[in-house]
C-alpha cells in the first residue's frame, strides 16, 4: 500500500469517526423539540451530550484539516465547489455551538426559545447537508478541466443526493435516540427507545434504497466487483443494522448504540471503498477527476503527517474514551443543578 493509499484510508476514517461521534449529537439536536416535552427534559437531552459534543465536533475540523494537509487540491476543489452548502453547515454549527452555551444563561422563556430553534436547526442542517454532499461526491461533481465547479447548490439536490441526505438524517436520529436511551431514565428513556424502534424500519428502507440507487447513479460497485472481498463492508454494515435492532429489542442499549456506530462507519466506508482512487469523481470527464494520486501533498508532507497522526490520533481516542467513561451513567436532576450545566 502506498502513501497516498494509506492517506486515502485515513481520510475516510476521520470522516467516519466524525459521523460516529457528532452524529449522535446531531440526532439529539434533531429530536430535541420532539422528545423533550418540557424545559427539564430538554435540559436533560442537551446535558446528555454536554461534556462531549465539543470534542466530537473537532473530528470535523481534523477531517477538514487532513483533507487540506494530505490532499490540498481536493480540499481546494471540494470546499470552493460546495461553497453554499458548506456555508449553510458552518452557520448551523456556529448557532448550535453558541446555543448550547447561551441557552441557560438568561432565565426567560423567549431567550430559551430562540436558542432551542438554533439547537434544532443547527443539528438538522448539517445532518441533512453532509448526507447530500457525500452522496454527490460518490456520484461525482461537475468539475471541469480547471477544477472549477460547473453547477450550483441546487444541482446537489438531485435524487441520489437527497437519498444520501435522508440516509444520514435517519442514521443520526437513530444513533441519537440510542444515546439518549442510555443516558436517561423515566419517560425520556422510554420515548427514546420507542423512537428508535419506530425509526429502524425507515432506516432499513432508506439503506436499501441507497444501496440500490448507488448501483444506478454511481460507479461505486466497480471496486467491489473487481475485489469481491470488499463486499464484506456492506455485509458488516447490514449485519450491524440488524444487530442494532436485535440489541434494541433486548434493551441492551450500549450494544445497540455501538452497532449503530458500526452502521455509520460502514456506510461511510461503503462510499470510500467505492470511490478509490477518486476523491471527487468528475461528472464531466474521468480525466478531470480529483484522485488520491493527482491531489496529494508531497511524499515528505505525507510522511510527516503520518507520524503526527500515528502519535496523536490514538492519544485523542484514548482521552476522549476516558472522558466518555468519566461521564458514564444517566443524566439526572442532580447533574442539572450545577451552575455550569447547560
Amino acid at each position: 500500500m502506498d502513501l497516498q493509499g494509506i492517506w486515502f484510508f485515513l481520510w475516510g476514517l476521520l470522516w467516519a469517526i466524525f459521523f460516529m461521534t457528532d452524529g449522535f449529537d446531531f440526532g439529539i439536536g434533531i429530536l430535541y423539540p420532539f422528545l423533550g416535552k418540557n424545559d427539564f427534559e430538554k435540559r436533560i437531552m442537551i446535558n446528555s451530550v454536554g461534556p462531549i459534543w465539543n470534542g466530537n465536533e473537532v473530528w470535523l475540523i481534523t477531517a477538514g484539516g487532513v483533507t487540506f494537509a494530505a490532499f490540498p487540491l481536493a480540499y481546494s476543489i471540494m470546499f470552493s465547489s460546495l461553497y453554499s452548502g458548506l456555508m449553510f453547515i458552518l452557520f448551523a454549527l456556529i448557532l448550535r455551538g453558541v446555543a448550547f452555551e447561551f441557552r441557560g444563561k438568561v432565565d426567560k422563556k423567549s431567550w430559551r426559545n430562540i436558542w432551542d430553534i438554533c439547537i434544532f436547526a443547527g443539528s438538522l442542517v448539517p445532518a441533512l447537508l453532509f448526507g447530500i454532499i457525500f452522496a454527490n461526491i460518490f456520484q461525482g461533481l461537475p468539475i471541469d478541466k480547471a477544477g472549477v465547479f460547473q453547477g450550483s447548490f441546487f444541482d446537489l439536490l438531485n435524487l441520489y443526493g437527497l437519498l444520501g441526505g435522508l440516509l444520514f438524517l435517519l442514521l443520526f436520529i437513530f444513533h441519537g435516540s440510542l444515546w439518549l436511551s442510555i443516558k436517561t431514565g423515566d419517560e425520556l428513556h422510554e420515548r427514546a427507545i420507542s423512537n428508535a424502534c419506530r425509526i429502524w424500519p425507515l432506516l432499513l428502507i432508506s439503506a436499501v434504497l441507497f444501496l440500490g440507487a448507488s448501483w444506478f447513479f454511481t460507479k461505486l460497485y466497480n471496486n467491489y466487483l473487481a475485489n469481491p472481498i470488499l463486499f464484506l463492508d456492506i455485509l458488516l454494515t447490514v449485519a450491524a443494522l440488524f444487530a442494532s435492532r436485535f440489541f434494541l429489542k433486548r434493551k441492551d442499549l450500549f450494544k445497540a448504540w455501538f452497532s449503530s456506530s458500526i452502521i455509520i462507519a460502514g456506510s461511510v466506508f461503503f462510499g470510500i471503498i467505492g470511490l478509490y482512487p477518486d476523491i471527487i469523481p468528475s461528472g464531466i470527464s474521468p480525466d478531470f477527476s480529483v484522485t488520491a494520486y493527482n491531489a496529494s501533498s508531497s511524499p515528505l508532507t505525507l510522511k510527516i503527517m503520518l507520524v503526527v497522526v500515528i502519535i496523536f490520533i490514538p492519544a485523542v481516542i484514548a482521552y476522549q474514551a476516558w472522558t466518555y467513561n468519566l461521564f458514564k451513567g444517566k443524566v439526572t436532576e442532580k447533574d442539572l443543578s450545577y451552575d455550569e450545566a447547560y
Binding site: F68, A70, S84, F102, F312, T323
Partner: protein, 433 residues
C-alpha cells in the same frame, strides 16, 4: 465589488471577530488555573468563588471563540481555493497539526472542566484548566507558525506548480515565527490582564466583595505589568526582523517614501499614494526610524519608491494601525506601573479605577490593530514574494460571496451582541461568596 475584495472583507470580518475572543481565552485560562490551584492547595473558598466567577465569563467567551474558529478552517478552502492548492503541502499540515495536537485537547477537556466538578478531585480539576490553557497556547503556536510562513516563506521549493515542503524544521523553528509568537501571546495576556483588572476595578469602585476583587486585580496586575513590558520589547525585536525581511511593510507602516540613511520617524502623516508622497507630515524625529528598524541611527531605510508599485502595500492602514498599537501599548505599561505602585491602596484611587474600567476595550483595539498591520502590511502578497492575494481566490460568483459576507456580518453581529450582553451581565454581578 469583485470576488477578491468581497473575499478579503469576509476573511477580515471572520478573523477579526474570532480574534476578539481568542486573546481572553489564552490569558484568562491561565489566570483561572492559578486561582483554582490556589483553592486546591489551600482550601480557601474565596479562590473557588473566583474560579467560578471568572470561569463563567471564560466559558461564554470560549464558546464564541470555538465556533468562530471553525469558520476560518473552512474559509481557506471556500474562498481562497487557489491559495490552498498552492500552499497546502505546507500550510495545510500546520493547520492539521493544530487540530490534532491542540484543538482536540482543548475542546475535549473543556467539557470535563464544565461538567466534572463532582467527578474529579480539586487538584485534578485544576489540572484540567492548566491543560486547557496549555492546549490553547499550543494552538496559537501552530497558527502563528502558519501565518509566519505566509509572511516569510522558508523551507520550501517551487515544484509541480505549487510550493512544496523541503525542510519542516526550517518552517516550524523559523525566527519570524518565534518572534511573532512571543509578541502575540504577550499581547493576548495584556488583553486578559486589563479585562480582569477593569472588571475588578468596577467592583472595587462599588466597594463590592473587596477582598475578592483586590485579589483578582492583583493577579491581573502581575500579568499586565510583566506582559505589557514584554510585548513592547518583543515588538521591537520583531520589528527589527520585519525591517530585514519585509522592507516594503516597514516603509508602508512609516509612510516612508524616499530611501535614505538616518531616516526620520514621522509621528503623523496622511499619505498620497498616487503621487508617492505624504500630504501632511507632523512631527519628524531625525534618525529614529533607522534606529527602530535597524538599531543603528545611520542605517539605510528603503522607501516605498524603491519598490515597484504593484508590490507596495497600502500605506494609510498600516501607518495608522502601527501607531495605534504602539501608542496604546505604551499606555498599558504606564497604567500597569501606576497599578503596581498603588496596588495596596486601590480603594483610595478611584480615578485610577475608573480609568481601568474604561481601558478594558483598549488592548482589544491594540491587538486587532497589530494583526491588521501584519496582514495589510503584507499586501499585495498572500505569501510574501511568491503569490499575490488577487491570484489566490476561489472561482466563485461575486453574488455568492456577497450573500455569505452579509450573513457573517448579520450572524456575527447578533452573536456579538448576545455574547457581549452575557459577559457584561456576569462581570457586573456581585459574586456569590
Amino acid at each position: 465589488m469583485d470576488v477578491v475584495m468581497l473575499s478579503r472583507m469576509q476573511f477580515a470580518t471572520a478573523t477579526m471577530f474570532h480574534f476578539l475572543f481568542v486573546p481572553l481565552t489564552l490569558g484568562l485560562s491561565i489566570m483561572i488555573a492559578i486561582m483554582e490551584t490556589r483553592y486546591a492547595r489551600t482550601g480557601d473558598k474565596t479562590y473557588l468563588s473566583m474560579t467560578k466567577f471568572w470561569g463563567k465569563i471564560f466559558l461564554i467567551n470560549f464558546g464564541l471563540g470555538i465556533v468562530t474558529g471553525i469558520t476560518l478552517e473552512f474559509q481557506f478552502g471556500t474562498n481562497w481555493s487557489r491559495y490552498s492548492a498552492f500552499v497546502g503541502d505546507i500550510f495545510g499540515s500546520l493547520l492539521a497539526i493544530e487540530a490534532t495536537a491542540a484543538f482536540f485537547l482543548e475542546s475535549t477537556l473543556i467539557g470535563v472542566w464544565v461538567f466534572g466538578w463532582r467527578k474529579l478531585s480539586p487538584k485534578a480539576h485544576a489540572t484540567v484548566m492548566w491543560l486547557i490553557a496549555g492546549a490553547s497556547t499550543l494552538s496559537a503556536v501552530w497558527i502563528i507558525i502558519a501565518n509566519s510562513w505566509m509572511q516569510h516563506p522558508v523551507g520550501y521549493v517551487l515544484r509541480n506548480g505549487r510550493a512544496e515542503l523541503s525542510d519542516f524544521s526550517a518552517v516550524i523553528f523559523q525566527k519570524f515565527a518565534i518572534l511573532q509568537f512571543f509578541h502575540t501571546i504577550s499581547a493576548a495576556y495584556v488583553v486578559s490582564a486589563f479585562f480582569v483588572m477593569g472588571v475588578s476595578a468596577y467592583h472595587l469602585l462599588k466597594k463590592q466583595s473587596i477582598q475578592f476583587f483586590t485579589s483578582s486585580f492583583k493577579i491581573g496586575l502581575m500579568f499586565g505589568l510583566i506582559f505589557s513590558i514584554l510585548t513592547a520589547i518583543e515588538g521591537d525585536t520583531h520589528g527589527v526582523h520585519v525591517a530585514e525581511v519585509q522592507p516594503a511593510k516597514l516603509a508602508a507602516m512609516e509612510a516612508h517614501w524616499e530611501t535614505r540613511t538616518r531616516a526620520p520617524l514621522t509621528l503623523f502623516a496622511i499619505p498620497d499614494e498616487k503621487n508617492e508622497r505624504n500630504f501632511i507630515e507632523i512631527g519628524s524625529i531625525p534618525g529614529l526610524l533607522s534606529f527602530l528598524g535597524y538599531h543603528d541611527i545611520n542605517a539605510e531605510v528603503k522607501g516605498l519608491k524603491d519598490f515597484p508599485r504593484e508590490e507596495r502595500p497600502p500605506v494609510l492602514i498600516p501607518f495608522l494601525s502601527f501607531r495605534t498599537m504602539v501608542g496604546l501599548g505604551t499606555l498599558f505599561i504606564l497604567l500597569a506601573i501606576i497599578g503596581w505602585l498603588r496596588r495596596n491602596r486601590l480603594l483610595e484611587s478611584p480615578l485610577y479605577l475608573k480609568v481601568m474600567v474604561l481601558s478594558i476595550p483598549l488592548p482589544y483595539i491594540a491587538i486587532e490593530a497589530g494583526w491588521v498591520l501584519a496582514e495589510v502590511g503584507r499586501q499585495p502578497w498572500i505569501v510574501y514574494g511568491i503569490m499575490k492575494t488577487s491570484d489566490a481566490v476561489s472561482p466563485l460568483a461575486s453574488s455568492q460571496v456577497l450573500v455569505s459576507l452579509a450573513a457573517f456580518i448579520l450572524i456575527y453581529g447578533l452573536l456579538g451582541i448576545a455574547g457581549f450582553y452575557l459577559i457584561i451581565k456576569n462581570a457586573t454581578k456581585n459574586p456569590v461568596l
